[in-house]
């Protein structure tokens, strides 16, 4: 285990950024999100939750896949370059690191999404334990320990000191590069910090949500529940939940005509939108109830059925915080917990 004074972190950032891109929580217009480190960036590792997760770094909100040029009635295709330079993401919380494992199940299953795979290969994840988990947090329900997140390097901010523990080969390589800024530390402080975090987690309002009614078996059992009809009504179909969700991965592929070429780009999409499943001959989900149901059934039943029980929710609580109608996955879980199906 290593440590560095919080006051010296700018040196650490500068040192990492001198060799590779560094993404970390940056405050812009009073909102903290992952952004590229620059000398003038307002780095903010104290805010517990970035508005959006670090998903964008690996699966950007919008990315060009290829360009099509037309010359003398002939098309030629220019495939977009993959990420080939290493980069570091600093300050990802435990829930968002686990969300990467969920996204891996989608994008790294055959046929592998090479754009995502390249970024995963090039990226080193430095996670940050949650000092003070928030009332909307429920990562524990999904077996995530925010006091000891996953990652290539795990860090803990305890008072004025950041503790640093490499966990993988990538993490060790990064540690070696910044070794001159780190000093050896014993684990006592971190151990007591972990205990303090876990004590908070136990008392959180959603700490004891039960997933008993969910998982693969729910794919059949919960689909026809009358609860959907009762719950969906406040949904505005705004899609906010899907955009702040660290595991939502639905996407669209669209055209942008630049005049000289057509860019075929991929961008986030949302199963909450009415045209998501619209075809020339009709739409298989015509009501918001069906779309609402699809989102939660996918996260809590279909995904686990296809991925050895792994849920496609990590309990980050962003949808709890951001839904303008106060609808969220916690309400869905609780409703089924209470009323069965």
């Amino acid at each position: 285990m290593y440590k560095i004074q919080k006051a010296d972190l700018p040196k650490l950032y500068a040192s990492i950024a001198a060799e590779s891109d560094l993404f970390l929580p940056v405050k812009v217009a009073d909102q903290t999100n992952f952004g590229l480190y620059t000398e003038t960036a307002d780095v903010d590792i104290d805010t517990l939750k970035t508005v959006k997760s670090a998903k964008d770094i690996f699966f950007p909100q919008s990315e060009t896949l290829y360009k099509v040029r037309r010359e003398n009635d002939n098309f030629s295709i220019d495939v977009e370059q993959h990420r080939t330079s290493p980069f570091v993401v600093f300050g990802i919380r435990g829930c968002d690191v686990r969300a990467m494992t969920v996204l891996d199940k989608v994008f790294l299953s055959e046929p592998i999404d090479s754009y995502y795979a390249a970024r995963r290969q090039m990226g080193t994840i430095v996670s940050l334990a949650c000092g003070r988990p928030d009332t909307s947090c429920f990562c524990k329900v999904f077996g995530i320990d925010c006091a000891e997140p996953e990652g290539d390097v795990v860090t803990w901010l305890v008072g004025k000191v950041l503790y640093w523990q490499p966990k993988t080969k990538k993490g060790e390589a990064l540690t070696e590069k910044v070794a001159s800024l780190l000093e050896k530390a014993d684990e006592a402080m971190v151990e007591s910090a972990k205990n303090a975090i876990r004590a908070i987690v136990k008392k959180l309002p959603y700490a004891n949500l039960s997933l008993e009614k969910w998982g693969a078996a729910a794919a059949d059992a919960n689909f026809d529940s009358k609860l959907w009809e009762e719950m969906y009504k406040p949904c505005l179909a705004c899609g906010t939940c899907t955009f702040v969700c660290p595991t939502c991965q639905c996407y669209d592929i669209k055209d942008y005509d630049t005049g000289s070429s057509v860019q075929r780009y991929r961008c986030w999409d949302s199963c909450m939108y009415s045209d998501f499943t619209m075809m020339a001959h009709g739409n298989n989900r015509t009501s918001q109830m069906q779309r609402f149901r699809q989102r939660f059934m996918h996260k809590l039943a279909y995904f686990p059925a296809n991925n050895q029980g792994m849920f496609s929710c990590v309990g980050c609580g962003r949808c709890v915080d951001k839904c303008p109608s106060h609808l969220n996955i916690v309400k869905v879980i609780k409703a089924f917990e209470k009323e069965g199906v």
Binding site: R70, I77, D78, S114, D257, H281
Partner: protein, 288 residues
């Protein structure tokens, strides 16, 4: 049976991503009906863009207009080219209908599973039931079976559409399929029409009139309402759900089970389908 993966020339160390299409040339366009055309597509250097199996689909893209999934209507036994029968019914298909032979499009695929022509269907009597443009996916299987005639028993094809003018592949049906021993083609149109001396009536009622025995495997494709009544008819004739195949069609963007659109229950129609047996369809949530 998909094409061998090629290393990406732009991204060394990676296979070419399945989302990246190839350029295809339209070498022939046949007008089938007032709103259906069949496009013959070849690689710029000649030959097929990739190999496929009957029932598989491909993404056809007109850059700047859009991209959508279409079934490959030609049989893999056709070694020279691939064909798509496309009905004009939206922005992309309207554009495709405006193209001429010699024009280029982008194609990626093949995607999805296929009809089990080498396993479950082998050695069986086959009953094909189609309505309208839905002959397109079945034509690939039919021609595969006809080109490997010795592997299959009697073949019955029940095909109907709104009018005689809306029958897709009519020339091939009348000049090729009808003349092959052991193949019976049963055509029908919805309403009486001058010059038509064949059967008149909807496909489901014609199916009941024909009263097939259950010693055959049925492959059923068409508009949802036709499927519903044909399935009911087949059940009444004694067919088990395990003997009837169909294809599902949902909106798709990626073709490889990642973009989320064609997700229904635990299945992705683009990769787990489009071909399903009806006992499998019955297990899906009622959302297709």
């Amino acid at each position: 049976m998909s094409e061998p993966m090629h290393e990406c020339k732009y991204n060394p160390g990676f296979m070419r991503d399945t989302l990246i299409p190839q350029v295809g040339i339209i070498t022939d366009i046949r007008t089938e009906t007032p709103d259906v055309k069949t496009f013959r597509v070849e690689a710029p250097s000649g030959g097929k863009l990739f190999e496929h199996m009957p029932g598989q689909c491909a993404m056809v893209c007109a850059p700047g207009v859009g991209e959508a999934m279409f079934s490959i209507t030609s049989s893999p036994t056709n070694k020279l080219y691939q064909e798509f029968s496309i009905k004009r019914c939206g922005v992309l298909t309207e554009h495709l209908h405006s193209l001429k032979a010699g024009d280029e499009i982008l194609v990626r695929g093949p995607y999805g599973n296929n009809f089990p022509v080498e396993t479950e269907l082998k050695g069986k009597n086959l009953l094909f039931i189609a309505g309208g443009i839905a002959l397109a996916p079945l034509r690939s299987v039919i021609n595969y079976c006809l080109d490997n005639r010795e592997n299959y028993g009697d073949i019955d094809i029940v095909y109907g559409s709104r009018s005689a003018d809306d029958l897709v592949q009519r020339k091939e049906i009348e000049e090729v399929w009808s003349k092959i021993p052991g193949v019976n083609v049963h055509l029908t149109i919805d309403r009486e029409q001058e010059g038509w001396d064949g059967h008149v009536g909807f496909v489901p009622s014609y199916l009941q009139e024909l009263a097939f025995d259950t010693n055959r495997t049925a492959i059923l494709c068409g508009p949802p309402i036709m499927i519903k009544f044909c399935l009911q008819g087949l059940k009444e004739m004694g067919f088990a759900m395990e003997q009837v195949y169909t294809t599902l069609e949902l909106r798709m963007k990626c073709g490889v089970g990642k973009c989320g659109r064609c997700n229904i229950g635990t299945k992705y129609v683009c990769k787990d389908g489009p071909v399903f047996r009806f006992d499998q369809v019955d297990e899906l949530p009622n959302e297709y």
